[in-house]
């Protein structure tokens, strides 16, 4: 009897959450539609949700971009390739550097002030310099995306290493470890949770910077698609681009989270 009552109570909570969530979302879409439809203030300048949906799922899209248009996927692909390369480079360079900085005090004292000096410059302020330094647009955009993710990765990895509980290191030494054993068996796994926090933040800022880069200097990609549609006043396509960006951004973060969870099954949650 007790169990049944409790189960019912819990079921109610989950169900009502779902209903409320759906209601909230419906209200959002409805408000959007109403504001556009009745041309409240300047809302007439925006597309309404249903025309966006229609365009997105149309076999013959008015402005050439929909789920059935190959160019749509070309843009997604262009952005994804850039983010992937930049993210992998940031991880490959940032994690070892972060471990070095956390693990070796001398290296930290040499390099950390320099990093702290450069870090406050927002990644997007690098745009002009990136174009100057790197000959191709592709390289410049990857550089921009990379620099954002790189700092997040380095700093979080370093933080991870320095926050490892001293007693793990001590335990490892008094079980007979050499320095190298400690690095592989304690430092790397011990800082993994922080490394993945860094990678998640890195993935977020990578997309953030890429969009700006593509808008400023791109020739393809989702950021370029959005700006180009703006130039040609194709507002539904702008919204399609935005939604797509949200989706791929969400999926890539989920991928990082999933990988992290697979690697850290030992965490209790």
């Amino acid at each position: 009897m007790v169990d049944a009552t409790l189960r019912r109570a819990r079921g109610r909570i989950a169900w009502s959450q779902l209903v409320l969530g759906a209601a909230g979302f419906a209200a959002f879409v409805a408000a959007w539609w109403l504001l556009v439809h009745f041309a409240v203030w300047r809302f007439s300048k925006l597309p309404d949700p249903f025309s966006v949906l229609r365009e997105w799922t149309s076999r013959k899209p008015e402005y050439g971009i929909s789920l059935f248009a190959p160019t749509y996927y070309q843009d997604i692909w262009a952005s994804t390739v850039r983010v992937t390369i930049a993210f992998l480079l940031a991880t490959a360079l940032g994690v070892p550097l972060g471990i070095l900085l956390g693990w070796n005090r001398i290296a930290r004292e040499f390099l950390f002030p320099l990093i702290e000096l450069i870090r406050p410059i927002p990644p997007l302020a690098w745009v002009p310099l990136a174009i100057l330094m790197l000959s191709g647009q592709q390289e410049a955009m990857i550089f921009l995306t990379w620099i954002a993710a790189f700092f997040a990765t380095v700093l979080n990895t370093m933080l991870g290493v320095t926050s490892i509980d001293e007693s793990y290191l001590r335990a490892a030494y008094c079980l007979g470890s050499r320095r190298w054993d400690v690095l592989w068996n304690v430092v790397v796994p011990g800082s993994l949770p922080f490394i993945f926090t860094g990678l998640q933040i890195g993935m977020g800022v990578a997309w953030f910077s890429l969009v700006a880069g593509e808008m400023i200097a791109g020739e393809a990609g989702l950021g370029y698609l959005i700006l180009n549609s703006y130039m040609e006043l194709q507002t539904t396509t702008i919204v399609i681009g935005m939604v797509t960006l949200g989706l791929v951004g969400f999926l890539s973060s989920a991928l990082v989270r999933w990988t992290g969870r697979r690697l850290m099954t030992w965490q209790s949650h």
Binding site: V2, D3, L6, R7, A9
Partner: protein, 270 residues
């Protein structure tokens, strides 16, 4: 003399046949089952039991933070239905609000209820802080105090609120054994001066016997009262009684009952 002073004060709390079940991923688990006992006014009842046996759940039920699945809890003839200022919990670790000074913490209860003028409440709070030896720390934040000092501030906050029932949920847990002994003495002095209805939950048998008038030994989960032992050591209690022959006898008796449960509960959770 003490009797006449305090006989008017109520605070008789009865736990009648209470059960409590929780829903977990694996299904419902029964944490408290058919549990009955009475907390008498002006008596310090101590409760010991294996860890995780459901003592904290009992405290939450009495405090009114949670409702029993069956049975009832009655305070001075009225059934307890929600949390209220007549029953006060002193939590494990501490629940001093970190963002308020010690003085604001101590005065929080009466000020929240609009009980007396602000200056009057602050005056009483200050004198209580003097009494627990925290003169000069009134304007500090809790994290600027040591663990032992935080516990004393928390005792002062509880006492100023004048609850009918004080519920101490392993309040000295996390303190080292030595600081803990000093805190026990502090708490004893405060109780012996004021009395009232006190329930003190602990897993430390020595602490329980040093403080209490009556010991409830609880079974493992689902918990109920396994043994009631009257602790007939004289008051005021002194540190030296811990090595007296009478203490030893009671200790032996309680230890047997408790260890039995503890060993069972450990092998159970394995």
């Amino acid at each position: 003399m003490v009797e006449t002073l305090l006989s008017a004060r109520a605070g008789r709390l009865e736990v009648r046949d209470v059960a409590k079940a929780f829903e977990t991923a694996a299904g419902a688990t029964l944490v408290v089952d058919r549990c009955s006992f009475t907390l008498e006014p002006n008596m310090l009842t101590v409760m010991v039991g294996p860890s995780g046996c459901g003592k904290t759940t009992l405290i939450n039920l009495i405090a009114g933070y949670e409702r029993p699945t069956s049975g009832e809890i009655v305070l001075d003839g009225r059934a307890v239905s929600a949390a209220g200022a007549d029953r006060l919990v002193v939590f494990q670790e501490t629940a001093l609000f970190p963002w308020m000074t010690v003085l604001d913490n101590v005065a929080f209860g009466p000020l929240s209820r609009g009980n007396g003028t602000r200056s009057g409440v602050l005056l009483r709070a200050r004198s209580l802080l003097d009494e627990v030896g925290l003169t000069g720390f009134a304007d500090r934040y809790p994290n600027q105090l040591s663990g032992g000092m935080q516990r004393r501030a928390e005792l002062a906050r509880a006492i100023l609120n004048e609850p009918a029932v004080m519920l101490m949920d392993e309040p000295f847990r996390g303190l080292d054994a030595m600081t803990r002994e000093l805190m026990q003495e502090h708490y004893l002095r405060l109780f012996e001066q004021r009395l009232g209805t006190n329930l003190f939950v602990t897993s430390e048998l020595g602490e329980a016997l040093f403080l209490g008038d009556r010991l409830l030994v609880m079974t493992r989960k689902p918990t109920q009262v396994k043994r009631v032992i009257e602790i007939d050591l004289p008051r005021p209690r002194e540190f030296h009684m811990l090595t007296s022959e009478r203490f030893r006898e009671i200790y032996e008796e309680a230890l047997a009952a408790l260890y039995d449960e503890g060993a069972k509960s450990l092998s159970q959770s394995g």
